[in-house]
Symmetry: D3
Subunit: 247 residues, 6 copies
C-alpha cells in the first residue's frame, strides 16, 4: 500500500491494524559508467514494493536525495548537506508520529546516508525524551548489508562485486528498470580500491566513479535474484521489528 | 531524460547542449475523501515527463515532501518544516550549479510550497552575490495557475472546481494513476470555503479535507485534457525561461 | 495606542478588552531616484496610526528591516536573510502570545516580505500544534493589494503606477514625511518592466531602481487620499479578523 | 541624515565622504510603573538624532526589538531570542558592508543586548577573516555607561538612580516624548535590588519591574540634561572611532 | 569529586545531598611568548579542584574550547564560533538538569567567553519558561575579576599585569603545570595596550600576542598565591549561590 | 607535545615539520556500576599521550563531551545534541586548518560519536570544495575496533567483554586512573544484550547500564596491555595517514 496512492481515510483504517511504516531512502549520485544516478533510491523502492506483496504494509514516498558529498566531482550528483538530511528525516518521522505511527523502518540504499540518518534518530529520541506515553522506534535497514546478499554477490562475482557501483546494486536497478540497461566498456575491468576522503580526492583515485567493481557483469536476471533475497530478508526483519520493538 | 535513469557521463553530454533542468516538487498530504495523498507530487512529475516528450530536457527526481503544515490534522499528511524545505531546495540547486547548471525550473503542485521555495530562491541569490561569473536563475511554475487550466476547469465544473482537492488536480492524478481511482460519496457535494489558519482550525472548517470542491466529478478523461494543456503551457514557458533568463 | 509609549500595566489593562495587536512591517531598501529608503516601513506605520484614531488598538514597534535581497545592488539597501526575518516574526509573536495576545495583524509595506512572513506563520502554527487551549491567528495585510487603492492608482496614473517605487507608495510616504519630498528628474519618464531574479540582474534591467513607474507624479495630496483609503480598508479588515478569526 | 528618509543616490554621495554609520538599538520591554516599554529604543534614537545635528552622519533605522528574556513575566515585553538578535545584527552589518560601509557604531539602550550584540561582532569578524582588503570595525556604545551620565545621575538622585527603569533613562525618554509622561505612585519609593536569573525569578524579586530605582523623580528637564551629555560624549567617541578604527 | 572519575550511582548519591555542580570553562588560544595555549582552561580546572578539597562538590569535565575569534591570527588558537559555544553550554546544562541538577556554576578563565555563555544562559531560561516546577540558576564566575586577585596583581606587578596573557594567569598556570614553565625574552618588556577589533587587527597591534603585560614576571610561587585567593573567593561565592539562588 | 602546554611560537615551529594533529574525543556518560563516567575520554587521551612518547606529534585538548543521547536515563550522563557535536568538530578543524594543519586524526573512545563525527567530516569537505589548493583529510580512529584489541579481549574475557562498559575499556581507564578503581558487585555477572533504541528503552533493557559485559574482571594490569596494543596500532595508523593521505 503506497501512501502516495492512498487517501487519508485509508491511512486511518491502516492505523487501526498497524502503526508501522516503511520509508525507502536513497540518493542521487553517480554510479560509474553504466550505473544509474538513481540506483540507491531505485533499489529500496523496489524492495519495499516487493515486501508489500507479501504482507500488508504502508510505504511512504521515497526520499530520493541523500548525503552524497564525496561524489560531487561527478556531473549529476546532488547532495543534501548532512544537516539538511537530518532535518528531513526528523520532520518525516515527527509528522507521522503525530498521526499515531510508532515504528519507522527505513530501507536504505546508500552507505553515505548511515551517519546522518542515525544521527537524526538520536535527535528524534532526544525530542521525545520525557514523554514515555508516546514511544517510537526507528530502524535503518541497509539492504546490501545482509548475509544472503553478500554471499550471492561473492559467489557470482568474487572480488569484482566491489564497494561502489557494485555489481549487485547495478543488477538490482536493472531488474527494476530494464529499459535503462546500459552497455559501456570500462577500463580497467575491475576498478581500483582505496580510502575515501573528500570529493576531489575521490575523483582522482576513482576516475570513472567505481570502487573495486566490474558492473559490466550486472544483468537483469541477477538483479531479480538479489531482489528476491532482499525482499525475504527485510520482510522478516520488519516483522521482527514491529512485533518486538521498544514499546 | 530522467536524471535518475542516466549515468554521469550522459549528464556531462547533456550539459554540452543545455544548462537547464526541470525539478518537480509536490507534497504528501490529504486531498479529501477520494484524492490521493501524493496528488501534488504526481501531477508535476507527470507533466514534466510529458514536456520531455516534446523537447530534450533533463528531469531531476521529484521532491515528494513539501510544506503541508495546515493539513496536519489529517492522517497520512507529512510536512517538512518550512525551514527544512528551504534547505532542501538550496542544497539541490547548489549541487547542480557546481556541475554547470544555470536555469532551475521547478514545477510545483502545491500552493503551500510557494512561500518556502521562493524564500529559498532569495537565499540562493544571496549566496551567489558578488560572483557575477556564475549566474543562475530559478523559477517556480505552479502548473494550476495558468489561464488554459483555469478556463477549462471553470467550463467543466464551474464553482465546484474549488481550492483544495480541486477537481482538476484529482483528475490529473487519476490520469497518471488510473489504477488508483476511488469512488467515494461526499457530503455535502461541494465542500465549504473559508480562510485557512492553523491545522486544527482547518480540520474544523473543512472536516473531510476539501475546500470548495466536488472532486467526485474527476475523471481520467478530464485529467488527460488538463495534462495536455499543462504540458503545452509549461513547455512554452520553459523554452522562454532558458532562452531569456538572466544571463 | 503605541506599545512603545505604554507601560506594562497599561498593556495588562488593554488585554482585558482585546487580545489583538497590530504590527507594521516594512523594509529598508531603495525606492528609485525620489523614493525614500524607508518607504515600506513608513507607509504601514502611518496607516496603523490612522487606524488607531478610529478604534482602540495596540500598535507594536515597526519591524523596519525586511527581506530585500533583490535590491542589494543599490546603496543603502539592508536586507535580512529570509531565515532571519522568519525568526524575528516567530519571536515577536511567541513573546506576545505568552502575555495572552491571540490575533496578530501584520500590516505589510513590502512584497518581498510576503514569502518569509507567511513561512513564519506556518512555523508558528507548527509550534503550537497540539495545544488547542492556546489558539492564535496571524494575518498579513498588504496595504497596497486592495481594490480601493489599485482603483485610485489606475485612475490617477494609469500604467505609470508601476510595480516598484510605485507612485502610490511614494505619495503615501510623502504624506507621512512632507519634509522629505524630493524633486528628481527621471529618464525615462516611466521605468521599464520585466521579471526579477537576483540582485545584479535587477540592477541591469532597472538601472535607477524603479519598475514600471513614474514616481515623479507623487504628491503629498495624493498620498493623503491613498492613506485614507488604506486606513478605512484595513480598519474594516482588522475588525473582521479579530471578531471572526479561528478561535 | 536618516537612512529611512534618504534615496539610494544620496547614500552613494554620503559614501564618498564617510564610510561610517550609526545604528540605534534598543528593546521593547517593561520599564516599571511609569517607564515606557520603548524606553531603550527611544533613548538611543533621540541621542543619534542629536549627534547628527552636530556633524554629518548617517543613521540607520532603530533596531526596536532586543534581548529581553528576563523581563518576559511582564505584559507587553517582546524578546528576540539571543540567537535571533545575533543574526539581525550580522545581516544589517553584512548588507551595509557590501555597499562600502566600514565603521558600524551601534548606540545601545539596553544592557541585555550587550552579550548577543558583541557575540554578533565576533561572528562578523570570523566571516571576513582572510579578506584583509575589506576591513570593518564594529563598536557598541552603551549611552548610560558614561562618566558624565553616571556623575549627574548620582548627583541628582543618589542611590535612587537604580539599575533598571533608572531615573535617567525614564527622564531621557520623557524628554523625547513629553506627551507620554506618566504620573504613577510607587510602593516602595525606591525599588529593591538583587541578582537577576530567569524571568519568573525576576518578577518575584522585583514585582513592579524596577530594580533599585525611584523613577517618579524623572522629569523632562532632567531628561534634556542627560540627553545633552550623552550627545556630547558619543559624538566625541564616534569621531574617534571612525578616524582611528582598525583600517 | 570529579564527574569523570565517578560512576552513575555515585552521582545519584551526590544528588541526594546537593543539586549544584561546578563546570570549568576555558579556551585554547595563544597567551603570548611564554604563556600556555591552555592557560584559560588550566586555571579554572585547578581552582575547581582546590574548591573541592574544601567542601564536597561535583566538578564536570572542563570545556577546553572557547570563543577565541580575536586570537585566530596566532598559530594553535582554536575557536568555537560563538553560536557553537552557546549550544555546547545549553546542551550540558540541559542534560544535567534532566538528572535533577538545579545550580550550574561555571568557573570561567577567558573574557571572550562571557558574551556567548551569558547568551546561552538566556536561551536556557527561555526554554524553561512556563515550567516553574523545574527551576534552575546559572552563574558565570570569572576567577580573575575579583578584588583579592586584582589587588594582589597590582601590588606585585603594577601596570605590568596587563589585559591579555596577564602575569597572574600565566603564574597560576605555571603553578598548575610547573613542568611547562618557559623562559622567553620579550620585546618590549611590557606589551602595548589598545582596543580589540578583529583578528588581523589584533595581531598588527599586539604582534606577540600580549596586551599590556610583562608575563616574564610570572613565577610558580606567585601562581600559588593567586590560586589560594581564587579558591577562597569562589568557594565562598559558590556556597552563597547554591544556598540563596533563585529556587 | 600537548597543544595546551605549548606556546603559539612552539606551534609555528611544529608546523615547519608536520601538519598533522591528534584530537582525542570521548564522552561523559555512564559506564555501568564500576566504570567511570569519563571512560571514553580517558582512554583516547591516554593513548594519544602514549603515541607522543614514540614519535613527535601534537595533541589537541580532548573533546570530553560526546553524543550520549541513549545513556541519558542514567544520572551524570551529559550529551551534546548530534548537531552540536557536529559543529564543535567543524569549528576545531576549521580553526586549525587556517593555521596550516592538513591532517586531522581523531582518536575516538565512543561508538555514539561515529555518526556525528563522520557527518562533520562531510560538512567540512563540502565547505572546502572548490579550493583544491587547501586540501585536508580527517580520520576517525576508534581505538577499540582493532584486531589486536579484540583478539586480546576475546582471549581474556570471552563473551564477557561485552558491548558497553566493556571489560577492556574499563581496564584501560583503570590503568590511566588507578586511584579511581572501584569494587562493585554486579547482578547478573554478565549483563544482557539487545538492540538499542531510545534512552528509556535502554534503561529498561540494561538496568545497570552495562551491555553484555562483566567489567568486574577489569584490572589495571590488563588495562596496560590494552593500552600498549592500542598505542602501537594507532601510532602505525597515524604514520600511514599523514604520509599517504589525500594530498
Amino acid at each position: 500500500m503506497q501512501l502516495a496512492l492512498s487517501t487519508w481515510q485509508e491511512v486511518e483504517t491502516y492505523l487501526g491494524h498497524s502503526t508501522g511504516i516503511v520509508i525507502p531512502i536513497g540518493s542521487t549520485e553517480q554510479h560509474g559508467p553504466n550505473g544509474l544516478i538513481g540506483t540507491d533510491a531505485i533499489c529500496p523502492s523496489r524492495i519495499a514494493s516487493g515486501m508489500a506483496e507479501k504482507q500488508p504494509l504502508l510505504i511512504a514516498p521515497t526520499i530520493s536525495y541523500g548525503m552524497s558529498q564525496h561524489h560531487m566531482a561527478f556531473a549529476g550528483t546532488i547532495t543534501l548537506r548532512p544537516s539538511t538530511l537530518i532535518r528531513v528525516v526528523i520532520d518525516i518521522v515527527t509528522s507521522l508520529h503525530r498521526h499515531g505511527f510508532t515504528h519507522f523502518y527505513f530501507i536504505n540504499g546508500h552507505g553515505g546516508n548511515i551517519a546522518p540518518v542515525t544521527t537524526a534518530f538520536s535527535e528524534i529520541y532526544a525530542a521525545i525524551e520525557g514523554h514515555p506515553s508516546h514511544p517510537l522506534c526507528c530502524r535503518l535497514a541497509n539492504w546490501w548489508r545482509n548475509d544472503a546478499i553478500t554471499t550471492l554477490a561473492r559467489e557470482l562475482y568474487g572480488d569484482a562485486e566491489g564497494y561502489h557501483a557494485t555489481v549487485s546494486e547495478v543488477a538490482l536497478s536493472y531488474f527494476a528498470h530494464p529499459e535503462a540497461v546500459k552497455q559501456v566498456s570500462m577500463q580497467p575491468e575491475v576498478a581500483p580500491v582505496g580510502e575515501i576522503y573528500h570529493a576531489a580526492d575521490f575523483r582522482e583515485k576513482f576516475p570513472d566513479g567505481r570502487i573495486g567493481s566490474n558492473p559490466a557483469l550486472a544483468t537483469v536476471e541477477d538483479g531479480e535474484r538479489f531482489y528476491q533475497l532482499a525482499v525475504d530478508a527485510l520482510a522478516e526483519d520488519y516483522r521482527h521489528f514491529i512485533s518486538h520493538g521498544a514499546q
